[in-house]
């Protein structure tokens, strides 16, 4: 007999992993993705990738330093993080993560310092201001030996792989949420992280660097590859879900397939992948701003959909839980605050780190001109 069930009374379980978690997964992904983009220049010495390496290093640092702040905020009490180190639980991916994050971040800071040590030394030449003395201190020893940079890069790489592994596995092992419980998820997190990092590099090339057309073309080509991987993984998940090979995947698909909001999200996600691919192929030299923005947006939206969307699916009740983004710290303010911290760190690094070296001639020229203009004005 046909039956219809209407849920009259039940409790809405509120989102427990807040937008802070989305920010953390997004930023740490962009960070390790950006770090990978620094390797061709700083580790393998490919001179043609110098601009990419330097811009990506800025991205890796800004995102890497902001990410843990968002993670701490999600604990509802930042000081509680100490318990992670007092009560290690080897069976919990999150517990392992608390050790992997410092490995990655310490490695990244060491690597960045060694990579820029020669530039610190140059910056510290002449003058006796406090800043110059600090530059001299940081640049003591001059250009770091390639071996030292490579060793630091290896440590960071190990940290990056472990962070990518734990962030994916941590969510994947949650059997209670079929949408999360898929082996595709860690790969999708990593692939979208790389696509996002390439998008960030495209934006940095425009706004922080000197808008190098060759770099834009190269990054757009790389973005096409990364987005193709993203698309393949998404297609793979869809195939496994529809084919009935895996009951868990089929359950995840059936939970969301009939929901208009999820259908819209799926169309949006596909468009946000195909559109930048098409643009990057069609206009590789001039579409960097748009493709970069969409790639970064896709990386964020994927995590938002997985976390916030995933938690809106009741485990026992009917329909969907409503989610309204709160305006305070648990919602919009958290997102804006993280973005603000990221911008602040980026501005500080752009201004005070010798990140650019001698690679950005036009940028250096602009700065020299600006200095000259201000000197003339003072006279």
């Amino acid at each position: 007999m046909d039956s219809q069930i209407i849920e009259v009374l039940n409790v809405t379980r509120e989102t427990a992993w807040l937008p802070w978690a989305v920010q953390y997964f997004f930023l740490i992904g962009l960070s390790y993705g950006s770090f990978m983009l620094t390797l061709p220049y700083f580790v393998f010495g490919r001179a043609q990738y110098e601009k990419l390496g330097r811009l990506a290093l800025l991205g890796a640092l800004a995102c890497g330093l902001t990410a843990p702040v968002a993670l701490l905020a999600d604990l509802h009490g930042p000081g509680r993080f100490l318990n992670f180190y007092l009560h290690f639980q080897p069976q919990s991916w999150m517990s392992w993560g608390s050790f992997f994050i410092p490995v990655y971040l310490v490695g990244l800071l060491l690597y960045a310092w060694l990579a820029l040590r020669g530039d610190f030394a140059v910056q510290g030449q002449g003058g006796d201001s406090l800043l110059t003395r600090l530059y001299r201190l940081a640049g003591r020893g001059g250009v770091a030996p390639r071996m030292a940079i490579s060793a630091a890069a290896l440590l960071t790489l190990v940290g990056a792989v472990l962070v990518a592994l734990y962030t994916g596995m941590e969510v994947m092992v949650v059997h209670a949420r079929p949408l999360w419980n898929t082996a595709f998820l860690p790969l999708q997190f990593a692939a979208t992280a790389f696509a996002g990092a390439i998008g960030l590099a495209l934006l940095f090339n425009r706004f922080v660097g000197d808008h190098d057309t060759q770099l834009e073309i190269g990054l757009n080509r790389l973005l096409v590859l990364a987005l193709a991987v993203v698309l393949t993984l998404g297609g793979g998940w869809l195939f496994v879900s529809l084919s009935g090979v895996s009951p868990s995947h089929s359950a995840a698909f059936s939970q969301v397939a009939g929901m208009p909001q999820w259908q819209l999200t799926a169309v949006w996600a596909v468009l946000a992948t195909i559109l930048p691919m098409a643009l990057a192929i069609w206009r590789p030299a001039s579409s960097g701003l748009i493709t970069g923005l969409i790639a970064v947006h896709s990386a964020w939206m994927m995590r938002w959909t997985i976390f916030i969307g995933g938690q809106s699916i009741p485990k026992t009740g009917a329909g969907l839980y409503d989610y309204h983004l709160p305006l305070g710290g648990d919602g919009l303010l958290g997102i804006v605050g993280t973005l603000g911290l990221w911008i602040a760190l980026l501005v500080l690094m752009v201004d005070y780190l010798p990140w650019a070296g001698q690679a950005f001639a036009s940028r250096n020229k602009k700065e020299t001109n600006a200095l000259a203009t201000s000197a003339i004005a003072q006279h």
């Binding site: 069930i5 409790v11 009740g317």
Partner: protein
Amino acid sequence: MIQSRRNFLRALPAITVGAALAPAPAIASAAGEEEGKHRWAMVVDVQKCIGCQACTVSCIMENAVPENSFRTIVSTYEVHEGKHTGTYMLPRLCNHCANPPCIPVCPVGATFQRKDGVVVVDGDRCVGCAYCVQACPYDARFINHETGKADKCTFCAHRVDAGLLPACVETCVGGARIFGDLNNPNSKVRHLVDQNKMKVLKPEMGTQPHVFYLGLDERFQGRVEGEGTLWQPSGHGA
């Protein structure tokens, strides 16, 4: 047996005096006994539940559960079958699983299972990461707004340890919630579990719940396929 309202009213003084003198409803054993000897469990006789939410309220009062949060609730559904419409009540709470998925994910070991099977959270150690909230297949856990830590049904462990019944069991109007020791061959839960075909929620998850349902409709055993809830408490942090 009191058969009429008049007789009942006549007998009321005697009943109240008796109630005052008699010990509170208690489970057979009390605190102080060897841990591991008991395995606490609950049987929910769905057909006896009238959806009054007395259990919901008594749990909130007993455990100081914050506003808009619930350790237990009676999910209520309207079921239309052809020309007939009925109401279906399903009391939900932590299942105190034998294989609880909330425990291995905890990054600090704050959530653990006592030897008597009760799954509890060490509030001093909990960091409020909500990993256990995600891992529970029954949506039985939540982050307490006041403490910022994981919260859940404890089978009223503080009462059980004192030899009392959980608050929800004691206040259940229809006698739908039966609590006891599965390890005790003479306990009512042991008899009910042995003599009836019990069901548990989401058996395919392999969690081995220790809240057993008598007369559970299969359509309500997993995620309910139906129209969404009408009532939504205010958002997080409200």
